[in-house]
Subunit: 341 residues, 2 copies
């Protein structure tokens, strides 16, 4: 294992989208696992808005990626060498493996979990991974969506939003999406069964929400923040719940966009609550077992787009912020997980 | 009862502070109660930020005051004539009596409650009225303050804030106020027992909060909104609760001031929840019985300033927005409640 591997380091803090001036693609030795560690060959990377959050100077719920560090990202790979009882060669593992071809993991690292057999690798990083699980806990735990709720979700055609809307519908809610093109709106209404969808690039979101939700929004699942959040705040029902999942409008901005309608939370006695998937790690199996039958029965649909090549991770990440995607984006680093081991 | 009474009508929507061009002081006949109604002579008016909210064009949790209507406000008075079994001449009643000398109430109006004997009229409109009760439910129900919490309250020297901070301290929290002068800060720390107070006119609130709350804010009780809310959002502990009581920074503004740090609710898995006292009407007795021993034992202090004369209601209301007050402001309309009946 002395062949070099490629990896992508953060070399400067991006301003807006992630440009080549912020990253360095370099060759480095494949690391050697120490006692208690295992070596993982990366197969897929999960492309998530939070990758961009971690590139900022300011720490968030995890420390910022240091300049000179490999870009932090969730990924899935196959154990190719193990000096740990926790890992066997051939195991599929998921964790914060980073933008690189090989990663060393240890069993104390709860983020590097062995995946049970029988699940497709791309599903493990999408519907049974961060997107599906985030949607699950956001809808069921944070927002507690129930029969008859009017449920609105932004980023409706994204990985999390598309699943959240369907889970809300299955829970008995009337579901309205907000997305960035007519094609996305068509997908979530015609293919995913949303009751309606607002194209925020062409429509006045606040006015359309007022039309579509004359009695107000009971649950707003927010992936966007900023002006879209403000439009939702202006249309809340009494006792509304807002599950704050993300704020993609702010991750590439020098200053987060303003929100002005917070007083509506008082008038409507509403609750706005942020959540992070990492707080639910112990309950992942529960969510996977909840999602599995819905997928198998065809009641829950999801889209995954796989982009080939580690070096395309930066441009793929940028597509989250330009809105040029539908569903979940993955980058295939190697075919390690696609062949029988 | 054919002598005229004075009353103050809203004649135009104020822009900023409430000027004389928005109001008309007029003489009108004292109303005659119909069957099932009673006539109340006003004694005191409660001066509350919400009076100004109701003057805006936009409906809030109650409809906007219509142009030409008496200014809506909570008040306390004495029943002087009754055609209802619910009221007896001499009863002290509290309700939305308005900026006038006489009001008609009916027993279906749950906002016009008969006050049990033994409480001072000015206490009924302050510590046992909207300010004390709002503080009680905000601290105990919405924010669920407990032992060891770091509790921050804005508008700390105001009617609600000064009581909320003391209730949090009694519940075992470390309490930090935010107020608008050195004198107010001195009052809440030296007289009311707050652990610290930040003078927002002279100090960098976010920086001072970071110093005073190195492990973050567990509970933020917000009366202000805008920049102060943003400063608190930037300093939350994981799992923080924000009780949104009011947003006085926005009531007189053409556009509410921006809040930018909502993503901190995600990073810190924090909850921001608005509440209104009117949802707790059934539980007022519980709160009064909770406050009473604290007052009697001298553990809970409060300030009430009484301004004489109905015609001074507008200027007194404006003092809430210029910060020129400490504690609760009342306007005395008559001495009806100050003499034995």
């Amino acid at each position: 294992m002395t062949d070099p591997q490629r990896r992508i380091l953060l070399t400067a803090r991006p301003d807006g989208l992630v440009g080549p001036d912020c990253l360095s693609v370099e060759d480095a030795p494949v690391p050697t696992p120490a006692e208690g560690e295992a070596l993982v060959r990366l197969a897929y990377l999960s492309i998530d808005p939070t990758n961009r959050v971690w590139m900022r100077e300011q720490d968030s719920y995890l420390p910022a990626i240091a300049i000179g560090e490999v870009v932090r990202a969730a990924g899935l790979g196959v154990v190719v060498e193990s000096r740990s009882e926790a890992y066997t060669v051939g195991d599929l593992v998921m964790g914060l493996l980073g933008w690189q071809e090989y990663a060393v993991v240890d069993s104390g690292d709860r983020a590097a979990q062995v995946i049970p057999p029988g699940l497709a690798p791309t599903d493990v990083l999408s519907i049974y991974g961060s997107t599906g699980l985030t949607a699950w806990f956001g809808v069921h735990d944070v927002a507690q969506v129930g029969e008859g709720d009017v449920f609105v979700v932004s980023g409706a055609a994204g990985g999390v939003g598309s699943v959240a809307g369907q889970l809300a519908r299955i829970a008995g809610a009337r579901v309205i999406g907000i997305a960035g093109s007519a094609e996305k709106c068509r997908w979530v209404t015609e293919d995913l069964g949303f009751d309606a969808c607002i194209d925020y690039r062409r429509e006045d979101v606040a006015a359309r929400l007022a039309e579509l939700c004359p009695d107000g929004i009971d649950v707003y699942f927010d992936n966007v923040g900023g002006a879209i959040l403000d439009a939702a705040l202006a249309n809340l029902a009494i006792g509304a719940r807002i599950a704050l999942c993300g704020a993609i409008a702010s991750y590439t901005a020098a200053e987060p966009p303003p929100v002005r309608n917070t007083f509506e939370l008082v008038s409507q006695r509403a609750r706005m609550e942020g959540f992070l998937l990492l707080d639910y790690v112990e309950r992942f199996p529960e969510a996977v077992m909840g999602l599995l039958p819905l997928v198998v029965e065809g009641r829950l649909r999801y889209a995954v787009e796989v982009v080939d090549g580690l070096e395309r991770a930066p441009e793929t990440l940028n597509r989250l912020f330009t809105g040029d995607h539908t569903g979940k984006l993955l980058v295939r680093v190697s075919d390690a997980a696609d062949r029988p081991v």
